[in-house]
């Protein structure tokens, strides 16, 4: 079973739009939305939730006020200014480290498991989707990412599906690290803007840090052809394969507004490029792209040769 993770560094470059289009094309797969604090894949895939699970992670202090003598030792030891003499004054500051509880001379504080969110198994137009909702202002997004990924792999194993498509989070911090670590291939969806290029550089350094193969899809490629050219040169120099070049097109906006994938709205220019992207990715991953796609590509190549 192969895991393909779609990431970007910069937000809003088209991770979910591209993930959804790939999910539409890939014949047998499980999809997992790893952007757990701003999940969107369920919106574009007509998800119907079949299972809801509680996610617990981390701990929070609970003070027994009858036992507490307000001695103030907890206030002295807490480095996060979250507790004052047995009263939790800023629960959002609390890291759940337990220093207050483990060092309370009266044993008035206990650490209790914290509900950190929920995760779901849903049916979508493209198969099973595992997604999540992080609790309000909760840490541990990285752990929730690992949880949904693990569940997706389990389901793919049970159903004998060859591919897991991971719609990743933006950034290069803990959720991104949790989403990419151990995957077979990371696909960076990059836009040809200075910001997009800058963030690609940092994402590439991160994938090198974790020794993960990276491929690049340039989205909105026609927005700035000079920058697109620079990205191509950069990728060639770093030996990062470019697996797709998708033109800037309003069909992406229309698709988002109507909660569809770009493959479900007629537009030859974009669809041919997404097909090619999927064909290249399936080659790199060693999964079958389905015959109908090969036929469409052969058809396209014949048309070009005949011209």
């Amino acid at each position: 079973m192969k895991e393909l993770v779609i990431v970007s560094g910069k937000g809003g470059t088209g991770k979910t739009s591209i993930s959804a289009a790939l999910a539409f094309l890939a014949p047998q797969k499980v999809i997992v939305d790893c952007d757990v604090d701003a999940a969107n894949f369920h919106l574009v895939s007509g998800a119907v939730v079949r299972q809801t699970h509680t996610f617990t992670a981390g701990f929070e202090p609970v003070v027994d006020s009858k036992v507490c003598t307000q001695c103030g030792k907890c206030s002295d030891l807490c480095r996060f200014e979250a507790i004052r003499a047995g009263v939790i004054t800023a629960s959002l500051n609390c890291e759940g480290c337990g220093v207050c509880a483990f060092n309370c001379p009266e044993h008035a504080i206990s650490m209790q498991e914290k509900q950190a969110g929920q995760w779901f198994v849903s049916d979508t137009r493209f198969g099973s989707l595992i997604h999540a909702e992080l609790g309000l202002a909760i840490e541990n997004s990285g752990k929730l990412v690992s949880k949904v990924r693990q569940e997706a792999k389990r389901i793919a194993g049970v159903k004998k599906l060859p591919l897991v498509i991971i719609d990743g989070p933006p950034g290069i911090g803990c959720p991104a690290i949790a989403a990419i670590s151990g995957a077979n291939l990371a696909l960076a969806v990059v836009e040809p803007s200075l910001s997009g290029m800058h963030d690609l550089q940092r994402l590439w350094e991160l994938t090198r840090h974790f020794q993960l193969p990276l491929a690049v899809c340039i989205n909105k490629a026609t927005l700035n052809s000079t920058n697109t050219h620079t990205i191509i040169e950069w990728c060639n120099k770093q030996e990062v394969p470019i697996v797709g070049k998708i033109p800037y097109n309003d069909v992406f906006r229309n698709a988002l507004q109507t909660e569809k994938t770009v493959m479900e709205i007629p537009n030859d220019e974009v669809q041919e490029q997404v097909l090619e992207l999927w064909y290249n990715l399936s080659n790199l991953l060693g999964v079958v792209p389905t015959n109908s796609i090969m036929n469409r590509l052969f058809h396209k190549m014949n048309t070009i040769t005949n011209k």
């Binding site: 560094g9 809003g12 220093v99 910001s195 507004q257």
Partner: protein, 283 residues
């Protein structure tokens, strides 16, 4: 006044709005708090003043001569950052939250803390927008949490006299929360799509929880059903829509080349008028 600019969904235009607001202000400090992927410097092109501050966190270090492998440290570490192998404690820096709990529990006094660098804060005057200073936080690659760096840069920002624009990371998790926290006003930038709307509501939950005055800017406005759906949410929650910035391909093209077009000066000035104390629009 410290104004945070956040969004929920990425790529809605946080940095673009930050820069538009900076250009419409006579004397402003911009702070880039998106430490995982900072971008403001690409537009403001600051001339470095040579001020570069290393940001460190404290992580435990085991004195192998003193450690007898008793495991007291591993037992109290709720982040599983310590394991006992080969009769000695082994620290996993990446998981450590710098709480100091292990040090307090070690009966052998075998743990001392040492500094670990997680990133830098740089400062400089913009060469593209006059009377604009930029402070950026840059997280080291491979460091999992940007939160300590965001806290450090927030502290610096709070020391600045005058108006400060704080460009936040996307999402609604701990990085975004620590960036938005303690600001005087939060502008949430959204776009009229189902993704934008969904993530805007999550971000609104956060600013409500933090009790921060909030306003919304609809970027890439379509002037139609998409805008209306966002405006309906804002009405329900009594959060003012500060501005609608029209969808513009030419703006996107110039932005991709690192240029902030002057097109929306009037809109930016109008936002400033609304968020100044006493001048705020009613929802």
């Amino acid at each position: 006044m410290l104004i945070s600019i956040a969004s929920g969904k990425g790529g809605t235009g946080k940095t673009a709005l930050t820069l538009l607001l900076a250009a419409a202000h006579s004397d402003i400090n911009v702070v880039d708090g998106d430490v995982e992927e900072p971008n403001c410097h690409l537009f403001l092109k600051p001339k470095s003043e040579g001020q570069r501050k290393d940001v460190t966190i404290m992580v435990p270090n085991i004195d192998a001569d003193r450690c007898n492998g008793c495991g007291a440290c591993a037992e109290v570490c709720l982040f599983n950052a310590i394991a006992i192998t080969g009769g000695k404690a082994l620290i996993f820096d990446e998981l450590c939250h710098s709480c100091g709990g292990c040090m307090l529990k070690c009966p052998q006094d075998a743990i001392v803390e040492q500094r670990k660098s997680i990133g830098v804060i740089t400062c400089g005057d913009s060469t593209t927008i006059s009377s604009t200073r930029l402070m950026s936080g840059v997280l080291k690659i491979g460091v999992p949490s940007g939160v300590p760096l965001i806290k450090a840069i927030k502290k610096e920002a709070q020391g600045i006299v005058g108006d400060v624009l704080f460009d936040c990371p996307p999402g609604t998790s701990c990085s975004m929360v620590s960036a938005v926290k303690e600001s005087d006003f939060c502008i949430l930038v959204t776009e009229p799509t189902s993704f934008g709307k969904h993530d805007l509501e999550l971000a609104m939950n956060i600013t409500q929880l933090l009790e921060i005055d909030t306003g919304v800017v609809i970027n890439k406005s379509d002037g139609g059903a998409g805008d209306e759906a966002i405006e309906a949410i804002c009405r329900n929650r009594q959060i003012p829509v500060l501005a609608k910035i029209p969808y513009s391909l030419s703006f996107a093209r110039e932005y991709s080349a690192g240029i902030i077009a002057n097109d929306y000066q009037a809109i930016a000035k109008d936002i400033w008028r609304q968020i100044r104390p006493g001048g705020r629009a009613e929802a």
